[in-house]
Symmetry: C2
Subunit: 158 residues, 2 copies
DNA sequence: TATTGTTATACTCTATAACTATA
DNA sequence: TATAGTTATAGAGTATAACAATA
């Protein structure tokens, strides 16, 4: 069943036993995430925006004046991690960070016009990738997959 | 082992608009992967084995004498990346790497007895997590989710 | 005292490039 | 020439800890 170690590998498919791995949701989610990430990273390379940054820009468009602590809570990242991501996007001119007048501990984050433009461009790549996934899904399966993933993720929230 | 997200930023729910993000499969897979990874990293901390290393150990159990190039192809990682992972596991005494007699360019990888024991212990944690996911899924939904994820991942495999 | 945010530091994971050994 | 594997180096992403500013 398993033919390896015989010097026959030439890049052709190799018969490999995956054991119980394919039956694990954790394994399959990881594999899917890797495949999706590799694909979108290639598409986005020219934009200089990573998938995580896309998500941040999209949140800023939907929630102008959001602050970094709120974003850190949403993504369950340390505030220091968000601080670095934000600094990079500010330096690139894609977002603005202005101290709030009411409570001067906060910085209000917003997309700049250039950030909006980059977000539009990135969104086109993202939606092209989503269409590629629809091509292998039957009607209704996208909604089903999203529902299942949401429930699984929530099983570990809190 | 560093883990992502330690809950420090958790607070009360904040009213936030996620825009179109929740409708993207890429976004949802990423969120699910993060949640699953954070949870299992906590469980595995004491074993010193990461989720990726679990996957490697499981492949070695199912495919004794597999070599690193084959593993690199399977996981679409560079051979240099696999080389480092393997070196670490060899140093920890969990796997052995012995030069193949037929073709001395190859190294045959195998679990050591200690590696087998660690794999058993880690597998118990993994399967406990999988059970936690089953608790939020109806009968048949695990198979459905796995099938959908597999098809989506394959949509990007070459 | 508590909260928001920054900086310094370190660890993991990954790739690229240059290398050795073997075929 | 081609393949398997290692090492050096670098970059992205993350966390922890210590800090400053503000409430």
């Amino acid at each position: 069943m398993k033919t390896r170690g015989n010097g026959k590998q030439r890049g052709e498919p190799v018969a490999v036993d995956f054991g119980k791995l394919p039956g694990y949701i954790g394994y399959q989610v990881r594999q899917a995430q890797s495949a999706i990430f590799r694909d979108i990273s290639r598409s986005l390379r020219a934009t200089g925006v990573t998938p995580g940054e896309f998500s941040l820009l999209a949140m800023l468009r939907a929630n102008p004046d959001i602050n970094s602590i709120t974003l850190a809570r949403i993504y369950q990242l340390d505030k220091a991690t968000l601080s670095l991501s934000i600094k990079k996007l500010v330096k690139r001119g894609l977002i603005s960070s202005t101290r709030s007048a009411n409570d001067r501990r906060f910085y209000s984050l917003r997309l700049t016009p250039e950030g909006s433009e980059v977000l539009r461009r990135v969104t086109r790549h993202i939606e092209r990738q989503e269409s590629a996934m629809d091509a292998v899904l039957a009607p209704g399966e996208r909604a089903m997959l999203i529902g299942l993933l949401t429930r699984v993720a929530r099983a570990f929230d809190r």
